[in-house]
Amino acid sequence: MIMEVIGKSVIRKEAQDKVTGRAQYTHDYHTSKKLSGRVVLSPYSHARIISIDTTDARKVPGVRAIITGEHLPLTGESMRDRPPLATGKVRYHGEAVAIVVADTPDQGDLAANLIQIQYELLPVVHTPTQAFQQNSPLIHERLGEYDREKDVYPVPGTNIAHHVKIRKGNLEKGWAESSVTVEGDYSFSPSDHAAMETRSSTAEITPDGTIKIITSSQAPFMVKQLIASYFNEDIGKIVVDTPLVGGAYGGKASVQLEILAYLSSRAVKGLPVEIFNQREQDIMMSPSHIGLDAKIKIGADQSGVIKAMELQFFWDGGAYSDKAIDLTRAGAVDCTGPYKVDNVWCDSYCMYTNHTYASPFRGFSHSELSFAVERTFDLLAKKLNLDSLELRERNAIHPGHTTPTRVLLNQSNVGNLQECISKLRTLIRWEEGPVKEINERLVRVKGVSCSWKTSTIDSNAPSGVILTFNRDGSLNLMTGVVEIGTGAKTVLAQLLAEKLKMDVDKIYVRMNVDTQTTPEHWKTVASRGIYMAGRALLEAADDVIAQLKQMASIVLRAPIEDLEVAHMRVFIRDDPRKGVDFKDICYGYQYPNGNSIGGQIIGKGNFILRHLSHLDPETGEGKPGPEWTVAAYGVEVEFDRRDFTYRLIKAASVIDIGIVLNEKAALGQVMGAMSMGLSFAGRETFYYDELGRVLNPQLRTYRPIRYGENPEYLVDFVYTPDLQAPYGARGVGEHGLLGMPAALGNALSIAANVSLHHLPLTPELIWKTKVGKV
């Protein structure tokens, strides 16, 4: 099929706004008067609140209200374990304890500093492994009493918020068939998304009870649903508006500030109140990127065929379980990586610790588990003296195999990993070997890894699209997908232009999402925007085409079957001169004498994923997601043996993308994700003191990769269509990231001749590992 619009690097619809400063984000909106809500953060990670004295704070001019946590309902997406403002005790450094609502931010800050809070320190749980120990301090004493979804399994009396089990095949048999086994323990602390736009939300309650929230979110429809549910508000009275979002990466899929803004507005008779996170607050108070302690054991025969895998994941969910429950599940369902493993046991635990609680992070547990699994693969390759890509290829997942949760794979629902590996070989010149000596000090080394990922979103998650016409026959496209930077709305316009065979410039997309007038898209997460909204869009396009043809068949006095649509016209297939323009029928057709028929054409489409199911609590059996995108990666470093520093030389990804919808946008997604993955792998983590306090909550101490520190990026694709997806396209927003930590870890382990088991991979870590100090 020859495509006219699909695959082209169509310029983003919002491009001009973004390069001229006209693009508006949540914090850019000005209302006639907006109060400021300033949040008081906990200075400790685990402490009893003895008293809160607001006397002095209330005397500050401009202070309208001070809110503390008593009498508020518990919140949390899968389990309600989190008070919106801490009550009784604080469970992480930076937890919200009180809010001051004042006329201006500086008045609010002044008052917030005058609130006197007495704390009594409690013993701190620093890691998920410590949290798992029998004698660990308890973070939630009343764990058994929380409301929760029915497939959440907390263990009261422990710090286990949720436990997912995978039991596939026969592990004993697998070990018996193995002639070699390798084991590894891995760990890394939580880190941050560090979106350049910090989170912010403004809430207002109008006299008729309408709750208006404007928020920087990936999940405006979830904001509406949760606030209605937590506070017993009528859901129809809640309107959530989300403009352009300045970076999200999963961090804005959680609902937090919206609740604080709503409570603040409620406390001042509904006046608009903005809660704007300054960077430190964004890093400490708002949910972070999850940490992990993992234990991996792999058994294989002499030829490297995997016979058994046993995995334990202790996720650092932090103080509250919120999205960490789903992250724990997502890690379990793809626990083996993209390999055929008949005998696998996995125990994935969502652990409470005294860290900031977790939100999703681009890749949703997959870059994290990949680091542990793929490092162990390299240990196996070393032990067997096998080429590390060869080992991966030998075990690569294929159609006909089953996943750890026993989903049978076919040509459509899993991509072609073997071809990814094969293309990677060429891309990174693997035939030259992984090691190239430069001189006494410097060595260049390549490391590799593979990944797969399905998207474990809610099995009933909806997506809808509405199409309307303008009088000139151009179209308006409305979807609940949030423009978080991926260009998804532009790509949707391309899909529509292709389908209607028209100029993409005549398709206008609504950038902002408003939960009252845009159809719901569950959440803009999980690389599922194009898959789900794309399917809804194609259905809406079919709806529009049917309506146009029906009108045209009357006007042209021809059967519907004989009509075609292209170039904003409906015409007779074998005589294209006979036709009618969209503009003459999209608002009804008027005969010369004034009689009119038909009316405004409105197209609608919706999509819901098919056959997803809950997992069996004992075996994990079930269908967690629709398809698996597979990929292979390589990273080349230049390592200095003298001081353990290194330079990133090249990073490569080969992803089975199905089809490229917008070339530059797709490359941008992949390379941007790779950059984020290398940044996470090489430099990003929270450093804590003995009281569990975050020591680096600023962008000069928490330091993402900067201009010029990047390697050269090599990207290639494999094109195995997903038959269920629009034009065969697979999700690609996250996948560039997934293999980066593992590939970097593998390269550096070879370069430094020491097995590295922690992130971030700093020169200091390499040195400490070398001298046995880790």
């Binding site: 006209r22 500086d106 352009l244 946008a665 790779m674 950059s675 900067r706 201009y707």
Partner: protein, 155 residues
């Protein structure tokens, strides 16, 4: 806190504003002049999202007090129109979410004006003061070099 009434020259227009001694230039141009192109990212000089031009040089507007800006020529992203660097950013997909973009463009625009012959190390020296979290920086590098090239008289 003491209030000051000052005149600011922003994008070639004289503006009279009343500010507190502690108000940053970023806060003032956003809240008082409604110029929200410059973004708060860290309020600490770490990220560069608030970069504007002061007398032709890039300046992180969160690090400058409004009262210090009196008598200086201030240019914000709203003051640029159809410059080579804006065009280059669009063409090379040098942004995704767009939040860091005004800062990068103001920094890059100043670089092109002040260092038209900038080499790789000068470009790095200038641009490493800003953070982009979406792109791989390669796209930004291409855009900057494209705009630098366009600015040079063809030899």
């Amino acid at each position: 806190m003491k209030l000051h009434t000052i005149h600011l020259n922003v994008n070639d227009e004289e503006q009279k504003v009343t500010v507190r001694s502690g108000d940053t230039l970023l806060y003032t141009i956003r809240e008082q002049l409604g110029l929200t192109g410059a973004k708060p990212g860290c309020l600490n000089g770490d990220c560069g999202a608030c970069t504007i031009q002061v007398d032709g040089w890039p300046m992180k507007s969160c690090l400058m007090m409004a009262v210090e800006a009196e008598g200086k020529q201030i240019t914000t992203i709203e003051g640029l129109n159809n410059t080579p660097i804006q065009e280059a950013f669009v063409h090379h997909f040098a942004f995704q979410c767009g939040y860091c973009t005004p800062g990068f463009i103001m920094n890059g625009h100043s670089l092109i004006q002040k260092k038209p012959d900038a080499d790789d190390s000068t470009i790095k020296e200038w641009l490493e003061s800003n953070i982009c979290r979406c792109t791989s920086y390669i796209e930004i590098e291409k855009a900057i070099k494209f705009a630098l090239g366009k600015n040079k008289p063809s030899s």
